[in-house]
Amino acid sequence: MVKIEFRKVGKAFGKKNRKKDVISDMSFEVSHGDMYGIIGASGAGKTTVLRMIAGLEEPTSGSILFDNKVVAENGRILVPAEERNIGMVFQNWALYPHMSNFENIAFPLRAKRVPNDKIREKVEYLANLLDITETLRRRPGLISGGQQQRVAVCRALSKDPSLLLLDEPFSNLDATIKDSARSLVRTVQSELGITAIIVSHDPADIFALASNTLCITGGKSGQAGKTSDLYHAPNSIDVARSIGEINLLRATVEVRNGRDAAVLGEENILPVTLSQAARSSLDSGDRSLIVGIRPEDIRIVEDSQEQVDARRWLAAGNATVKISSYSAGIFRILLRLHGVETDLATTSEHFLPPGQEVSMFFRKDDVKLFDNSGYNLAATPAAAAVPHQA
């Protein structure tokens, strides 16, 4: 178990005159025994952060602390990778192709000069835990992807690391075994009680495993906090997009019937409540904003006579079904909202034929409003101090 802290960490690659900042001014903390997620679009800098934690890269500026002890700062590594007691599962697993799976798992123990009988005991215990006992004598090239992943997890765990790092560990697995692999990692982590950090671009991995998450956008800390908070109250459009799907609609704020309303195109008027700060910032600008709504926060009503609870749902206008597709027991619907001519994605429990006219409602509490730079208007200005990456 270990606590990790990033203090104003920056990382640049390249020579002096051609420097490229990959990470800048990043601060966050991972507490003891936590399963921490790092999410972001590809190229955002997730893997660089993980490699700095592992000790494979040094931070150009700032400092990294393990249990309040500085392990790297300002371009220098003070504790090298081999002394940080880390277990890591690489994206492609990086197993040693010339060794048997047994020797792969035993390698960290051999490096520590653990006696042979202890090694055998440990490897067999882990292999049994992850159900790969029968593959121990074979080489990594001769077993399936799912088994290779488990060998990689065993190797990462065999030396009892105080920190487990997982770099996109599921991206090379078939969709069918992804879930069992996720639950396996979750079980092992909670059973052994070690701190773990998982990097992924797939929200499914993060929701399945991480209780707290850092979202990296454009090399900066977009938002850090509880995974559900990132989902429900994202600081910016970038964060909202990284952690799940979101529909975005351009709108202008006008006063209708004495109340603020977001006007989508000609006919769709969405009453909104704006904070004082948000209103003053809009007054100084061009009064346009972006409405964000998650697919599950849209309700489709086919029958115009049906009563909808107005305290919870806002009428957003009429739309035409463009296409219905199917995935895991639910239909994914693409709608074209009249008057705005924007496509919105949502789900339905039953099939809707293309061309069907429907009414659309947005869940009142989950409509998100972003300014033109992409910040959430509901968020406090301090938390939203992240420039929007175009």
Binding site: A54, L56, M88, A94, H98, R110
Partner: protein, 284 residues
Amino acid sequence: MTRFRLVSSITAGRLYTIGKYAVLVFIALIWLLPVYSMVINSLKTAAGVLTTPVLQPSGISFHALKVVAAAMERPIFNSFVVVLPVAVISTFVGGMAAYYLYRVQSYFNDVMFTVVAIATFIPYQITLVPLTRMLAQMGIFNTYQGLIFAFLIFYLPTGALLMSIFLAVLPKRTIEAARIDGAGDWLIYRKIVWPLVIPGSISTFMFIVVESWNNFFIPLILTSTPQMRTTSVAVLYYSGGFGTLYNESFAAALMSSILPLIIIVVLGRYFIKGFLALGTGSKG
């Protein structure tokens, strides 16, 4: 009509095949000619070698080979004593240098790599005087250690350069995984890097064996007594002087090229494997 076309296309294909093989056989003959003339002339008698043309055999006599074998025993032994350690050390230690330059990338290491590459191509001749003086001062002139030391100066950079070419196919992630697993550089080199670049190291080893075995200039300058002569130098004494016995000089040439020939025949497939590994980016 169609039948005629079919027949003519078969004939054209056959002609192409015959032509292709004719060219290949011709090239092979050119390559084999020196070996052929070396073998048949070393089997001639002193009279036979003077009365028959070079490419024409004249009976089989092992006299020349026997005479030369007795005289070449010592030089061949000397060559073995010098060449094997040189090739083993150059490959293994050169590989270590290549590993370090590959793992740690820095401006300094880029400069070092350039220096290594330049060192590989330094002509021996220009180092002649300083090298001889250095060995004399170290008291290892005309000794095995002296020859090994001098060869290492030239072949260690070669080993490092060749090994760095073969090492580049090793994924960096594999080395990083080993570091995270807690292994130091020595353990990583022995247990991870070395086993994965074996085809490449065999190619490097063979190259250095053949090069240093055939190296004539360094042992010629750095040895002063007949007991210390290596094969390549000893062969020289079979031509010139008061007159050349061609059968004996061919026999000496045959003996001196036996080790490189055996190595190429036995390990040739690994040599090719090593270079194939470069193309496929795998372990070979």
